[in-house]
């Protein structure tokens, strides 16, 4: 009986022999990652010292802290929290990365997504490190365990394998592919599983597209997503990898709890209708709904190809008067590339408002909506109140559809803007 990549990674980081789904192991994460957020990092730092008498972590290079929420700070309490994080990092010799972008993306840029590594965070969107063959899992407050113990108790998850086939139409993106997966499998189709992705669509997809899909795994019920690393992933990560380990791959005879094959060649742009992250429709069903706000960014979307696609849609057009289009590149590195390529200039000329990278537009700290307003968004989530008033609404779409809505002031098919 063969092994999945997830089983091999958990075997690598556990004591004893090979492990299969269902086994309970004590696993040593290669990296323990967190962003500072009230109730999480501040509580963990306090509990470490007060409940466990730990004043210094043993292997500081295994830890990484990001300051990406509440950036820039709007209150002194927020800046106090950031200072607490910086001080804790300095005392423990743990790196603190700030103003570099959204941590889940920057973690990849900085090589924490070493192929074959096991990573934990409290936030589930860390799943996107799976793009590089890294098993990265959000464990919520269990993260304390990884701060006070070398090993965490972990049940080896089952794996659902999805093979995606077909070439995407112009104006249809990885984002649509993910929401289509939710449409096909349902919001609990992979409940508790690792979602392993493959097939020719993935093989031909950029790393950015793969990050977009793996980022959102939780909305299928999965605990993470992973892709067996190919040359593209390995080439990207080779100069960045932080530890010297061999990449791992699923065996041909690995055991999967479920296998699905999904053809995406006929896929159209998708809209996820509020307030459920699983209410997936073809854009044509909801075209025409008036929207006042557009958000292009987040750890799921907002990378170079998303920005370029939005600029292509907006080419020769202007953002409609009164429409608020916020574009926030996922990281500073991405912003720099987009600037060098002239994409930022094109977006500005079309009327977009561009900010430096931050998580704040995604969770309703910045760029908020009033009651009764509606947004098109590439953010992670469309639940009530996520981007302002509980009586505002968020329609999740791809980057091209945000741009099309910004031109027309209503949900609109971006494909006509991409012809020629």
């Amino acid at each position: 009986m063969g092994f999945t990549i997830a089983e091999k990674i958990l075997t690598r980081v556990s004591e004893g022999g090979s492990v299969h789904a269902g086994d309970e192991v004590l696993a040593k994460p290669d990296f323990v990652i967190a962003y500072d957020f009230p109730g999480y990092t501040d509580v963990i730092f306090k509990q470490m010292e007060e409940d466990f008498g730990i004043t210094k972590v043993a292997e500081p290079d295994r830890f990484a802290l990001f300051i990406d929420h509440m950036v820039p700070a709007a209150t002194t309490a927020e800046e106090d929290l950031h200072q607490l994080t910086r001080d804790w990092g300095a005392k423990n010799k743990v790196p603190v990365y700030e103003r570099k972008g959204i941590g889940h993306q920057v973690a990849a840029e900085l090589g924490y997504a070493t192929p074959g590594a096991f990573v934990v965070h409290f936030d589930g969107h860390i799943s996107q490190l799976g793009t590089f063959g890294t098993l990265a899992i959000g464990v919520r407050r269990h993260l304390l365990e990884a701060f006070v113990k070398e090993r965490i108790k972990f049940k080896v998850p089952e794996t659902t394998r999805i093979d995606l086939t077909g070439t995407l139409q112009k104006g249809v993106t990885a984002r649509d592919v993910f929401h289509h997966i939710v449409r096909v499998l349902g919001p609990r189709g992979c409940r508790g599983h690792v979602l392993e992705l493959g097939g020719d669509t993935i093989d031909n997809m950029s790393l950015e597209g793969r990050q977009s899909i793996t980022c959102l795994a939780m909305f299928t019920g999965a605990i993470t997503a992973i892709i067996n690393p190919d040359a593209r992933a390995l080439d990207y990560m080779k100069p960045r990898a932080r530890i010297d380990i061999e990449p791992l791959f699923s065996d041909a005879d690995a055991t999967y709890t479920q296998r699905h094959k999904i053809d995406v060649s006929a896929l159209e742009p998708i809209v996820v209708v509020p307030p459920s992250p699983a209410d997936t429709r073809d854009l044509s069903e909801v075209a025409g709904i008036e929207v006042q706000v557009g958000y292009l960014g987040s750890c799921a979307s907002g990378r170079v190809e998303d920005l370029a696609l939005a600029a292509d849609v907006l080419e020769g057009h202007k953002v409609k008067d009164g429409f608020r289009l916020n574009v926030i590149p996922t990281s500073q590195e991405i912003m720099e590339i987009a600037a060098e390529r002239g994409i930022i200039t094109r977006l500005i000329n079309a009327g977009a408002f561009i900010s430096s990278s931050s998580c704040d537009y995604c969770f309703g700290r910045m760029g908020v909506m009033r009651a009764g307003e509606r947004a098109v968004s590439t953010g992670t989530l469309n639940v009530r109140g996520r981007m302002g008033s509980p009586d505002s609404e968020i329609y999740i779409v791809n980057a091209a559809a945000v741009a099309a809505a910004a031109i027309e002031g209503r949900i609109a098919d971006p494909r006509p803007y991409l012809k020629g």
């Binding site: 309970e24 109730g39 509990q47 409940d51 466990f52 589930g124 959000g138 464990v139 919520r140 407050r141 269990h142 304390l144 365990e145 006070v148 113990k149 108790k153 972990f154 049940k155 919001p187 609990r188 409940r191 508790g192 939780m218 019920g221 605990i223 307030p275 459920s276 992250p277 699983a278 989530l381 639940v383 009530r384 109140g385 509980p390």
Partner: protein, 171 residues
């Protein structure tokens, strides 16, 4: 671990239920347990907090806790004395978060059709069985993993880690 025994205080019939709705999204940043307890289910039933008593249990449908679950709703429920959640199945992130708080969560396939509100029910950990004493029915429960059981026995994550400290010191 002591059996859970109490009344069905509420049945969440919606599948993929987002627990933030228990206190309402606009109240999700409130930290005071008493205030959260007062707000729990208030929009559905203004006197919910007065009707429940310590030991009562909540019942949910499939994939209970889907979405981006936050901690305040169940902080409020625990303040009211609610002793656990029994559901057809749970969203993994929600499950993990509440087990870390020492709040029992039990997967009981078939429960949604097996209970009415205020039925007297019980979880027998020893036999891994759900009993509805009012209706005289039983169902098997899904056993807890060792890690989850140890965490509940220790009252949550901090207690569990201390237990491991002791084990590692003597082992």
């Amino acid at each position: 671990m002591q059996n859970l025994k109490g009344r069905v205080a509420w049945i969440f019939e919606q599948e993929d239920f987002d627990v933030d709705q228990i206190v309402g999204v606009k109240n999700i940043k409130i930290k005071d347990p008493a205030e959260l307890g007062r707000l729990a289910m208030h929009a559905e039933e203004p006197d919910f907090a007065d009707k429940v008593k310590p030991g009562d249990l909540l019942v949910g449908n499939h994939n209970f806790g889907y979405g981006h679950p936050h901690y305040p709703p169940m902080i409020g429920m625990r303040h009211l004395g609610l002793a656990g959640v029994l559901a057809e199945s749970f969203s993994p992130g929600y499950w993990r978060g509440e087990i870390a708080m020492g709040f029992p969560q039990v997967a009981v396939p078939g429960i949604i059709k097996a209970v009415s509100r205020w039925d007297e029910i019980e979880i027998d950990w020893g036999t891994a069985t759900f009993h509805n004493h009012t209706k005289g029915t039983t169902l098997p429960i899904e056993p807890l993993s060792d890690g989850d059981r140890l965490m509940l026995e220790a009252g949550g994550l901090v207690g569990y880690l201390h237990a491991r400290d002791n084990e590692e010191a003597t082992g």
